[in-house]
Symmetry: C2
Subunit: 145 residues, 2 copies
DNA sequence: CTCCAACCTTACGTGAACGTAAGATAGAGA
DNA sequence: TCTCTATCTTACGTTCACGTAAGGTTGGAG
């Protein structure tokens, strides 16, 4: 796929994709003739989607996202090696353990944020509960009058 | 309280507070002599805390935060009127209904974000589950060998 | 009243994250 | 092969959210 298609597919702009390449969030110049068009695989697109998603949801900056991207790339490499027929079971096991650690890390980030939102949500609901209670009181007072 | 105290109390800087005033996220110049020191109430501090919190958790920009702040100020005004002895029960009811709507709106924002995080969380957990399953398979295979 | 730290205003600087414009080029289709 | 259209590189522009520096003022402690 070319950059314009990818941009349209994930809902962003070519400029953003190039920028992400510039700061290391996208595949980069590996084996591309200077001036040649960029081409992307389906996996690249998927990775970009995840990056944009995490950026939006967690509000991460380039440095933090870079860490996650490194993990994403590690995931891809490991998955490929895992799928290879020549990989030994022992090696497969180590790959899986590593993949597990990566996912764990992402889950930790997500869960931390989720906990904070839960806290806020609970506080808002309590506030709403108090308002409802006062409304009850008021309507009872009106009924007695 | 003065600006430095407030900044320290909520973990930010005087500059940020002045900036928030500039863009309408903080009380402003109402009745302050030009050049005089800014003073803040406990309520102001609390409002600032909420703004910073929502900014951090939801990643909102000035415009979206401004909406929430308008609501915060409405909340304060309404609460004060509610506490006044001269307010009629009918008026109190209307105030409560309005407050309820405000909190509802905030809850909506928070819940939407929470749902997205839940979705991501579920996906990550499923991914982890698949990895665990494959590890199972591998160890079983090793046991049979 | 005096002093001085904390504050004031004004204004320019900064980093992140792109937008936009210009001129040259690549590469898929007729 | 020729033709466009999407891409390319380069580079300056922009908005947001503050940081920082300069020179003057406020206002509470002593």
């Amino acid at each position: 796929m070319r950059i314009g298609e990818v941009a349209a597919a994930v809902g962003t702009t070519p400029r953003t994709i190039r920028y992400y390449e510039e700061i290391g969030l996208m595949p980069g110049t590996a084996g591309r003739e200077p001036g040649a068009h960029r081409t992307y695989s389906e996996d690249d697109v998927e990775q970009l989607r995840e990056v944009l998603r995490l950026k939006g949801l967690l509000g991460l900056g380039l440095d933090e996202l870079a860490e996650l991207v490194a993990n994403q790339e590690a995931r891809r490499t490991l998955r490929e090696e895992f799928r290879s027929a020549t990989t030994s079971p022992a090696r497969r096991t180590r790959i899986l353990v590593e993949l597990d650690a990566i996912v764990d890390h992402q889950l930790e980030l997500v869960d931390r944020r989720r906990a904070q939102l839960d806290q806020l949500d609970a506080e808002l609901r309590e506030r709403r509960g108090r308002i409802a209670a006062r409304l009850e009181e008021l309507s009872e007072g009106a009924a007695r009058a």
